[in-house]
């Protein structure tokens, strides 16, 4: 029997058998394959059998549906094809398929393949518009409006609370530090926090800080509530309204 296999970064999340009813894909929970990701539209795409062929149809989604890396509005599927929706892959597995009657292809014309898009300036512009729209959406989401802060739990510093406003936050004894450490024998630059598009990252300075009790390797993304230790100073990383 044919099935669709939902994968994310190589891991299988869900398998859905293909029957007579269309299989719907989207962010809304009532889809057959719900995908909880902002890049996915509420009702993003569907897969169904038409005239004996398996078809994927994009439901006017914002970010598009991709069949083997090509954006499609409607396309025929074959065994082994991969549909990309947001960051999720949906694998078409038709290995034991015997459900389709032999003569059904005569009854209706084969589904029309929508022309695949060529990446010209128009597509580039559209893609940038999508990117801009995605950016706007994420800015509207509550997580982005909240301000990242550091609260001092232990140790001598020049303040008890800090709001992270710049791209770079330096923690240390240096007078260029945002979080100035007052204790002796602490380095001028003990640690640094860098703002990236997707959040805040802690990096080492002249010493290696710890996050939740573990020394960091490279740049480490900070999560709400993380406990940072820089030498003897303990800081709590919190997003606040």
């Amino acid at each position: 029997m044919s099935r669709l296999v939902l994968k994310f970064e190589g891991a299988v999340l869900k398998e859905v058998p293909l029957g007579t009813r269309p299989v719907t894909i989207g962010r809304a929970p009532d889809n057959d394959i719900p995908i909880d990701n902002l890049a996915v539209s509420n009702y993003h795409a569907r897969v169904y059998v038409e005239a004996g062929s398996l078809v994927v149809e994009d439901l006017n989604s914002l970010n598009g549906s991709f069949l083997n890396d090509i954006r499609v509005e409607r396309a025929m599927l074959k065994d082994g094809d991969t549909i990309l929706v947001g960051k999720h892959h949906i694998l078409v597995d038709q290995i034991n398929d015997a459900a389709v009657p032999v003569d059904s292809w005569r009854k209706a014309p084969a589904p029309r393949m929508n022309e695949t898009m060529v990446l010209d300036t128009r597509v580039r512009r559209e893609m940038l518009e999508q990117a801009a729209a995605a950016g706007e959406r994420s800015q509207l989401s509550p997580a982005r409006i909240r301000v990242p802060t550091l609260t001092v739990l232990r140790g001598r510093t020049d303040a008890k609370d800090y709001r992270l406003t710049g791209k770079l936050t330096v923690i240390g004894r240096s007078n260029m530090a945002t979080v100035r450490l007052r204790s002796w024998f602490t380095p001028n630059i003990a640690a640094q926090i860098n703002k990236h598009d997707d959040g805040y990252y802690l990096g080492r300075g002249d010493i290696v800080p710890k996050v939740n009790g573990v020394e960091i390797g490279g740049l480490t993304k900070l999560n709400d509530g993380d406990l940072i230790e820089v030498g003897r100073v303990r800081l709590n990383f919190l997003y606040r309204d």
């Binding site: 990446l119 990117a131 995605a134 710049g166 791209k167 490279g218």
Partner: protein, 243 residues
Amino acid sequence: MDLYVLSDGMGGEAHGEIASKVAVQTIVDHCRKAENSRATPTFGESHPGVSERTNRLTSAIHLANRVVFETASVNPEQRGMGATIVAAWINGQMLSLAHVGDSRAYLLRAGSLEQLTGDHSLVAEKVRIGILTPQEADASELQSVLTRAVGTNETVEVDSDEQILIIGDALLLCSDGLTRMVTDPEIASTILTSSSAQNAADRLVDLANENGGVDNVSVIVLRFLAKSESLLDRLKIWKRISG
């Protein structure tokens, strides 16, 4: 002045070279002028989240964009020429970084290599909005399609960033001629096993050519040896046209 600028031209071999030369010269001149006089006018938007120096570097790229664009608009045969830019300005331990296009900056710290810049290319933008995987991007034939370049439009958006450098860090600025041919682990191990910044730069270019490099390869390798600016390891720029 510890300012390092790498640029990769586009729009035909000869014109691309003009674009990158003009851009680099404009950036260096503007930053030098600003060092001597803070009253030097700024170009483009400045960002409150970064230092004055970082904003100055961004301003220099905005000016370079204008100069290249205007040069091209009075010379019809040069129309469409442009260049990528990745620029690093170091003051004490503070690194100011700005870029446009797909030339990159990497930081090698404590053995791990971090890419500090995000490419302004079609495939990279698609990966960022989640409609292409990094593996698909690496395999794509559209890697050369840029979404931003210096000099191709009247204005350009510049990305900037800041980092504190610590002793032992190595900074790499490079064109796509390197990163398409040499993997991140190869880059990291080459720099780690090199005797000097010069040696690392030579070996990276050799490696790109050995791996079948067909594009120009430009790299700048810097090693941060001590807090004193004067002890910054010598940089080396390599540009080679293969074949």
